[in-house]
């Protein structure tokens, strides 16, 4: 059956067409949804296609940055935040980064065989807040609170403060199209607070709070980090392998943050 495809031409129209979000499939860049449709795994009745919704504005007001949900992954590099640039540059390849959106990266479900949603880590480390709409109307909350409840929400924008320093480290993989096995993002704020987050773990990206508390001692922080997450066990890597490598990535990120003092 043919889908009903709605193409809002403003953010407010997108909000009203999304309504309570029930039975509506959102398409941002489509880099995840399109293969699902092409291969017949998804036959949505009602689609909200955000191409012309005007949700792609990036506003920089001093150190406060607000990015619309359909901002392209490759546009993040222009913000000049090292950790975010490196994290975004690690997503797929240039052609996909110029089509894939931030909202899609935050809302993507778990892959069948690999974790995905790399930007979640960098944005958690930036302590970003998310403005979204859904059955109980509009809501602004921390990304950390949002991620477990992101289904049937329409992301409108993401907001964060420019950090004093930021860093990113990921396990290298052989080809641009492999998903990230494991990655760690970190930031240091002007008052010296360190925030760390990981992606490639089980479920969405996660803050590494025990590691943050031990941040002044990178060895201890690395060791503590394994208590902050559950490790995915999938076609990319075993949970054991991820557990061995998370401390290494935490140490690398802390070293990068230290260097940019």
């Amino acid at each position: 059956m043919a889908s009903e495809v709605l193409m809002p031409s403003s953010p407010s129209e997108a909000v009203s067409l999304f309504g309570d979000g029930a039975a509506t499939t959102v398409i941002g860049g489509g880099t995840v949804v399109m293969p699902e449709i092409t291969y017949g795994r998804l036959a949505p009745d009602r689609v909200l296609l955000l191409t012309n919704a005007g949700l792609d504005t990036v506003a920089v007001d001093g150190d406060t940055i607000t990015i619309g949900a359909t901002t392209r992954v490759d546009a993040l590099a222009e913000l000049g935040i090292d950790g975010l640039t490196a994290c975004a540059g690690n997503v797929a390849d240039g052609e996909i980064r110029s089509q894939a959106t931030v909202g899609g990266n935050l809302c993507v479900g778990q892959g069948h065989e690999a974790p995905r949603g790399d930007l979640q880590g960098a944005l958690l480390a930036l302590d970003a807040t998310v403005r979204s709409t859904g059955s109980d109307g509009e809501r602004t909350e921390s990304l950390e609170t949002f991620l477990p409840h992101r289904h049937a929400r329409l992301v409108l924008e993401v907001n964060f403060t420019r950090p004093a320093a930021s860093a990113f480290a990921a396990l290298e993989y052989p080809h641009t199209h492999e998903y990230t096995v494991l990655a760690v993002s970190g930031t240091r704020t002007a008052d010296g607070t360190i925030r760390l987050a990981a992606t490639g773990v089980a479920g969405p990206g996660a803050r590494l709070r025990s590691a943050e508390s031990a941040a002044s001692d990178p060895e201890a922080a690395g060791a503590a980090a394994v208590n902050d997450v559950t490790f995915a066990d999938d076609s990319l890597a075993s949970a054991w392998y991820r557990e061995q490598t998370l401390p290494v990535l935490v140490r690398r990120v802390l070293a990068q943050l230290e260097e940019s003092t």
Binding site: A92, D93, S98
Partner: protein, 170 residues
Amino acid sequence: MNLTINGVETPIESGPLTSLLDVLREELGITSPKAGCEQGGCGACTVLVDGEPRRSCLTPAASVDGAAITTVEGLGTPENLSPVQQAFTHHYAAQCGFCTSGMMMASQAYIDGGGTDDREAIQHALGGHVCRCTGYVKIIDAVAAVVRGESFDPNVTAAGTAMTNLGGMA
């Protein structure tokens, strides 16, 4: 819907969520974009959308309504190959040819965007494209040659370049 394909304005009848790849191949019979993986992972379907390289398999038709699309059919003609097509032929950058359309479109975008002949930069620009035949070296040779403005006789193949680049074994 409407697309300007290789300069010709064309009404589109496929549904709004049909991939641009299927619009081109199935509705319009433009077969240079290849249906490789149809999930974004190979680059065989890349075309230019308003000058930017895009995976046509990941692109819903409605999202590019009104756009200008360029495919290999819009590069040159068999009698008058474009510089990229000439270079790919001369440098033997195509073997089975399945990746070649996508490679050429991404190369064209790289060159149009002011790309240099730096091999790493070319590799980066073509990084999303899989080739199972050439080993990539000759594709990079071809793109670098176009950037340098070299001209070639497409009927003559530059033998041995890959070997030379791999350490002078030829």
